[in-house]
Amino acid sequence: MLLTVTDITKSFGTTRVLGGVSFDLAAGRSLALTGESGSGKSTLLHIVAGLEAADSGEVRVDGAVIPNNDKALAAYRRDVVGVIFQQFNLIPSLSVADNLSFQARLSGRVDASWIADLTGRLGLGDLGQRYPEQLSGGQQQRVAIGRALAARPKLLLADEPTGNLDENTADAVMELMVDLTRDAGAGLLMVTHSDTRAAALDAQIRLSHGQLI
């Protein structure tokens, strides 16, 4: 199993956000995580992404527990996962081309032909020298997908990646993301509040008040 999440709990102060969540995800598969606002789905994604620490429980990727010290967590984020957020995924001071290759270069896994392939499939061929603020929202999210996949992560994590996009653009972006993840042989965990978007993935789980239902 690529990703095994076991009995994760998390509280913010006295508010219990996650109350013992467990699920797993196989390589090459995609899983949608849905739920109401405040159901804890983003927090769960952040814990899997190594951006936040769980109070208890464990997350294993390829059988290895994700570390809990700052430095190792940073390496995990860099080398193992790719994350796409709703917005601000890109580094404003770098060009599109530099953004695309940034994480790959960080993790030392630059594969020029794979990046070229990604650029082509994401339709970003002409935009390499532009800067993020010169792109439309859909273009920005496509660059974010390319950037996340360029390093060939084992696990792609997306948090409402189409939340800021109109329907048509959102559909196109979704399709690209699912296809590319599958082709890369990675697992995809996506947080969304939309059941339609969730239906496009291989499997769905739903969070309510910190529990899977």
Partner: protein, 792 residues
């Protein structure tokens, strides 16, 4: 509604106390530096006015004998009996001071006499014992009835004519002061006293002209510090505007008219300006009281101008301080207010737009910068005078500052091309993007650094030249001043047998080319040829001097009169000699000439015979000292070379104490500007940092990069400040100094000083970046995560 809106606006500051402190500090620091300098200037000016109206300094016309000789009391009385309003003055040397004997009965009101109002001063002044009034720092022999008077210049002592006669052992006058207003219908002077001539002494020629440059210098520093303080204020006001943008939008949406909002913000600015202005004026006063003793020492040491070491509170500079606080706050807030006034209610939010100047405006700035540099070059080539010198400095500094953003961007772009790792590449790219927000602070740093290098190099060059010069100049081992001619003769006879050489030191005061000057008579001795550093000379100048066929003049006189070798100088009426050489004479505001003692003696028979300089084996100094004391010379009248050097260097160091203090203050304020700018930027940089963090850089690493970035900016700024500072030093040494002091100094390089300053700049930059960096290293990840989720 206004009240509610104002409270909403002000609530921002309650949540951001640090920002409030930065804002107030910036404005208060700017006001304080400005006010402090103004206070010092006005205090000094007031005392010049006193001094300038004192005898011998003000605008006055004198009657002198055409042959330069003394005037008889009878000639004074006969002129008075003919109706001419004249007043006698006898002038002579006593100890190290000039003694002026005056007649308080006839001294015209334009030449204010010393203050005789205290107690029974007048009675004692006219009494048989007499009363000598002198500045506390004036060097007078002991045992005289001296009382201190603040309005008499250092080095001068004033007493009644009868007392002066007794002390100087003469019964005649050096000159008569001619009252400006004379009755009508008098017999012309030419008919009454053909042997006399009138000479007009220019007002302010002495102290005013000399000190003007010093004050211009101080004012320039004050303005510079003020500008640097404004950078801070501008940065904080800009930040507060940006952070409250959402609030402005809400207030506008809730129906607050744009005009009301702008008005409220203006009122808020005025409130802060008042608060900061008051703090600033108080700080300025405090600063001035700290610096004034140094300024007094500087002016005393350099020009002999006497300035009291204590400050009187004057409303004029306090008001000017408040005015400058308001002006500064308005200037700093104008741009923000303009933006608020023109803020569209539904403007799209742009997270990092507040200081993002386009490349276009950077180019425009650079063009202005180049124009200013061109102007500086033009002034350097064409300009005259001290004001032109400072105008050139101003154009140079601000031109360079305007070029800074483009220069830094270009340097960073070049660096980015060679950056191999993605993190480095990103860090450089990110720095470039932050430049517009940082550039004001960096400009402040550039100005502070360049001024530091410039002034530091000037002072160090001066010190090195001065030290070398004094080594050479003070060639004799012992200098003695006897109390009486008989004692001088006894000392001379003793030294003739005991020392290697006894050189008489004979000087007389004169007016050369209309300005006060000294003529020194020297004997033919190798000491002079070896010791006096000459700037330029014809062949064998000392031979010409020894034979009475030529004269040397000091650099000040040479430059002021535009003399060339071979030109004829009139030393005394009827005594003309060709110029055979020019020597350095630092620290002396007056002109000076050296010629043969025999020739001088022939024209001025009553030269004071009390001073000698003595050549001897340094090991024998204690022995000779003992011998001289046995003859009766007070030990204070026997000074050895080491003492003179120590005193001279001490005066020199005191002289530049203030400059040094202001230098450091300016640098400190620039560091604060950097701190404010970095703190400001830090809070709005999360969107830039969050993705990089999410992609696998630790917060600690990011914080380290922040520190590095600040250091690199400071280092680059320093690299640019170095040539600029040298240009400033050149301008100070070759233009301003020549105009202000009359001497030109060689520009010497002091790489160690520069290295120290570079280190200081780096430390300042690191210190400024430390707080934001620590905050970043400890930031809660959830705040970074919010970036990806918040609607902004």
């Amino acid at each position: 509604m206004r009240r509610a809106a104002l409270l909403a606006l002000l609530s921002h500051w309650r949540r951001q106390p640090l920002q409030l402190i930065a804002l107030l500090f910036g404005l208060a620091a700017a006001t304080a530096l400005w006010t402090g300098v103004q206070a010092i200037n006005s205090e000094a000016r007031a005392s010049y006015d006193d001094a300038a109206s004192a005898l011998g300094q003000g605008n006055e016309t004198r009657l002198l004998r055409r042959d330069g000789g003394p005037l008889s009391p009878e000639s004074f009385v006969s002129l008075r009996r003919a109706g001419w309003l004249v007043s006698p003055v006898v002038e002579g040397s006593i100890g190290g001071a000039t003694l002026l004997g005056i007649d308080p009965f006839t001294l015209p009101p334009t030449a204010a006499s010393p203050n005789l109002a205290d107690g029974d001063r007048l009675e004692r002044f006219l009494s048989a014992e007499g009363l000598i009034l002198a500045h506390p720092d004036t060097d007078l022999p002991t045992g005289l009835p001296v009382e201190t008077a603040a309005n008499i210049p250092i080095g001068q002592a004033t007493t009644d004519i009868t007392t002066a006669w007794r002390l100087l052992d003469r019964e005649d006058f050096s000159y008569l002061v001619l009252s400006a207003n004379q009755p009508a219908g008098l017999t012309p002077l030419a008919q009454l006293a053909p042997q006399l001539q009138t000479v007009t002494i220019e007002a302010g020629g002495d102290i005013g002209r000399l000190t003007r440059s010093f004050h211009l210098n101080l004012t320039a520093f004050g303005l510079l510090s003020f500008a640097v303080g404004l950078f801070i204020t501008h940065a904080t006001i800009g930040l507060a505007f940006e952070q409250r943008r959402a609030m402005f939008r809400t207030l506008r949406a809730l129906g607050t008219p744009s005009r009301t909002l702008t008005g409220l913000l203006a009122a808020e600015t005025a409130l802060f300006a008042t608060l900061a202005g008051l703090i600033g004026v108080a700080l300025g006063y405090w600063l001035a009281t700290l610096l004034l003793p140094g300024v007094a020492a500087t002016l005393g040491g350099l020009y002999g101008a006497s300035v009291p070491g204590t400050l009187t509170l004057s409303p004029s500079w306090a008001l000017s301080g408040m005015a400058i606080a308001y002006a500064g706050a308005s200037a700093a807030a104008a741009a923000s207010l303009w933006r608020v006034a023109n803020l569209p209610i539904l403007a799209p939010t742009r997270p990092r737009a507040w200081a993002l100047a386009s490349a276009k405006s950077r180019i425009r700035q650079a063009i202005i910068g180049v124009l200013l540099l061109g102007l500086a070059a033009l002034i350097a080539a064409q300009g005259h005078g001290i004001v032109a010198g400072f105008a050139m400095l101003g154009a140079l500094l601000f031109g360079a500052a305007l070029l800074l953003p483009l220069a830094l961007d270009t340097a960073l772009a070049l660096a980015q091309r060679f950056a191999k790792t993605p993190v480095l590449n990103w860090a450089i790219a990110d720095t470039r993007q932050q430049l517009p927000g940082l550039s004001l602070a960096l400009m402040a740093l550039l100005l502070a650094l360049a001024t530091n290098i410039g002034v530091g190099t000037m002072v160090s060059s001066f010190r090195a030249t001065f030290t070398g010069w004094i080594e050479q100049r003070l060639a004799s081992e012992i200098y003695i001043t006897a109390q009486t001619p008989a004692q001088a003769e006894a000392a001379r006879m003793y030294l003739e047998t005991e020392a290697d050489a006894v050189l008489p030191v004979r000087r007389t005061n004169a007016r050369i080319a209309g300005a006060p000057a000294q003529i020194i008579g020297v004997v033919d001795h190798p000491t002079y040829a070896q010791g006096w550093p000459l700037i330029t000379a014809s062949a064998d100048p000392w031979r010409a001097v020894a034979t009475g066929k030529g004269a040397l003049v000091n650099e000040q006189l040479w430059r002021r009169e535009g003399l060339a070798l071979g030109d004829t100088i009139t030393l005394l009426p009827g005594w003309e000699l060709p110029l055979v050489g020019v020597y350095s004479d630092y620290g002396n505001p007056e002109g000076q000439a050296i010629t043969s003692l025999a020739a001088l003696q022939a024209r001025v028979p009553d030269l004071s015979p009390l001073r000698y300089s003595v050549r001897t084996d340094p090991a024998r100094i204690p022995e000779l000292r003992a011998g001289l004391e046995e003859i009766g010379l007070p030990s204070g009248n026997i000074v050895d070379q080491v003492e003179v050097k120590d005193v001279s260097l001490a005066i020199f160091e005191r002289t530049f104490l203030v400059t040094g203090a202001l230098n450091l203050l300016t640098l400190g304020v620039a560091a604060c500007a950097l701190l404010t700018a970095l703190t400001t930027l830090a809070t709005m940089r999360l969107p830039q940092l969050a993705p990089v963090w999410a992609m696998g850089l630790t917060r600690r690493r990011l914080a380290g990069l922040e520190l590095g970035r600040s250091a690199v900016c400071a280092a680059l700024t320093f690299v640019l400040a170095l040539p600029l500072g040298l240009a400033v030093a050149w301008a100070l040494l070759a233009v301003v100094n020549v105009q202000a002091f009359g001497w030109r100094l060689p520009l010497l390089a002091f790489p160690l000083d520069w290295a120290r300053l570079a280190l200081l700049a780096l430390l300042a930059a690191l210190a400024a970046a430390l707080l934001p960096a620590i905050r970043l290293a400890r930031i809660d990840p959830s705040r970074l995560l919010k970036v990806f989720a918040d609607e902004r």
